[in-house]
Amino acid sequence: MIGRAPRWPTIVLGVFGFIWIIPIVGIVMTSIRPLSETARGWWRTDSFTLTLSAWQRVWEAYPLAPAFVTTAILAALATAGTMLLTPAAAYAFHFLKFPFRRLLLIIIINAFVLPQQVVIIPLFQLWRELGLIDNFLAVLIPYVGLSFAWSIFLVKNFLEDFPTEVVEASRIDGAGPVQTFWHIVLPNSLSSVFATGILQFLWTWNALLLPLLYLRTNVPLPVILARVNGTYELNWDLQSVAAIVTTVVPLAVFLIFQRQFAAGAETRTGAKD
């Protein structure tokens, strides 16, 4: 662009930016002020007291701490599963030849359009028959299984630019396909594997529908938030703390890796242009 940037775009974006964070400011304020002050609006300043009372009481009121641990375990296991299995499959699809390769690839990379709603009835019946309801596997299997629809596409796209000569050289030197994957391809495609991991981590941390249906005792944070939200108690301060605890980790991860996320979400849900 020529010359100095005009000022009006900054003003327009500034107005929208501040409007956009009002809901976030709202729950933060509600969580650090006494209920009596925020009952008629968290923005009112007739009297203004800061208190961490809600932050101290919430752990007794709601099972937030165990839910946090559950969420972290589920997200970590699902992320590890996706990060371990995806590159192997992407490598096989990209560099190896075997029957039905293209057919399988087409089926897997197009499955990204499927909504989660498709899995819930069949898996509900299957888990009930196998006695897996309330078992972490009941959500971990669909978390990891569903992720392949976008993760393999993402890593395979990365491999398109991988120098074929290097792979061929390794094969001529006598390395088998698995060795070539482990020693040559995997170490050089870690950036795409980590991008996959970040997306999977955010998705599983925030997941509500599957754990809502398949878990009962140890449930992750979004399910706890849904439960306390449905109680109609006037606990705005405690509920706001629960909401912040639910979202603080994924939001931090998201903001740190936002660039990769915008690029990843594009390949995850959309076509590459």
Binding site: L13, G81, A111, A226, T246, T269, G270
Partner: protein, 320 residues
């Protein structure tokens, strides 16, 4: 001869077989083909098993179940198209279809329209507007469940709700139960869902505008074009690829929406905010009409496939 050994794109992809002449290449390729088999299956088996359980089986089974009448634990009864006939005579479901259409189209227009406009505006001052773009994008990083909770606070029916308080400045004592009134619930749900949805179109369209060659802008400004003309004649048409992707992502996201509806309205009041994706949950998981819910899921699936046809064609053609 070569083709039978190294099918389809092997020549271009694998490089080797096309570079070595004659016999030697043939031999190598044949050895490779045989050698690849076990390794490929070894690497793929866990993926295929999990994908089979989590995607292929549920997909086929949902379609199968949609032809059965299933009540609780009793034996399923085959009823052919019975569930579908019932769906399309069920006023609640027909209402759901309309709600889905309004919700999907409105959230997409709001998110993509606003995101696109803001992307073009910020392209005039990319560096100065960066912090504000991050603020808008941050809403996209907040899970739907938490976003729903935040909006409950804004939409509270009393004067403690920000929206009522803001309107109350001009109209003292204003108190609208936004979420409790069937006439307003769907529209505030759409606003809440779009709040988180603007960030991604903003980023995609911004990247799209940024990739326009700078010389085009320079030429336009030298010819005396105004900002408005540059926006209308250069940025809008040339950022369309990004807009298309954003529209598609938003349509898919709106069709599969569940979390924010569950938290914010639970489909109510009087089922006025139930989309097909929520209807199937309600019928199958709270009313235990599994076959009926499966039929609704198939309807959702058809809608998703119709929206996805261009993307599927593109991906299938690009799958090498």
């Amino acid at each position: 001869m070569q083709d039978s050994v190294a099918p389809e794109s092997a020549g271009a992809r694998a490089g080797l077989s096309s570079r070595l002449p004659g016999e030697q290449s043939n031999l190598l390729a044949r050895r490779r083909k045989a050698g690849d088999w076990p390794a490929a299956w070894l690497l793929l088996t866990p993926v295929l098993i999990l994908f089979g359980i989590a995607v292929v089986f549920p997909l086929i089974d949902t379609i199968r179940l949609s032809f059965f009448d299933i009540k609780g634990l009793a034996k399923p009864k085959f009823i052919g198209l019975g569930n579908y006939l019932k769906l399309f005579t069920d006023p609640a479901f027909r209402n759901t279809l309309v709600t889905t259409l309004i919700f999907t189209v409105s959230t997409t227009i709001l998110s993509v329209g606003l995101g696109w406009m803001l992307a073009m505006v910020s392209a005039f001052a990319p560096r100065q507007t960066l912090p504000f773009r991050v603020m808008i994008f941050a809403a996209f990083g907040i899970s739907e469940a938490v976003a729903g909770y935040m909006w409950i606070g804004i939409l509270r029916p009393d004067a403690g709700g920000l929206l009522n308080a803001a309107i109350g400045l001009f109209q003292p004592g204003f108190a609208q139960p936004w979420l409790g009134d069937p006439r307003t619930a769907l529209w505030v749900l759409i606003v809440a869902a779009s709040w988180g949805g603007v960030g991604l179109p903003l980023m995609l369209c911004f990247a799209s505008v940024q990739s326009i060659p700078k010389t085009l802008f320079e030429a336009a400004y030298i010819d005396g074009a105004s900002h408005g003309q540059v926006m209308r004649n250069i940025m809008m048409p040339l950022s369309l690829p990004g807009v298309r992707v954003a529209i598609f992502i938003n349509l898919l996201g709106a069709l599969r929406a569940f979390d924010i509806i569950y938290i914010l309205t639970g489909g109510g009041p009087v089922r006025s905010t139930e989309t097909v994706g929520y209807f199937m949950y309600r019928e199958s998981m709270t009313q235990f009409k599994l076959g009926y819910g499966a039929a609704a899921t198939v309807v959702l699936l058809v809608a998703v496939l119709v929206v996805s046809i261009p993307a599927i064609i593109q991906r299938t053609a690009g799958a090498r």
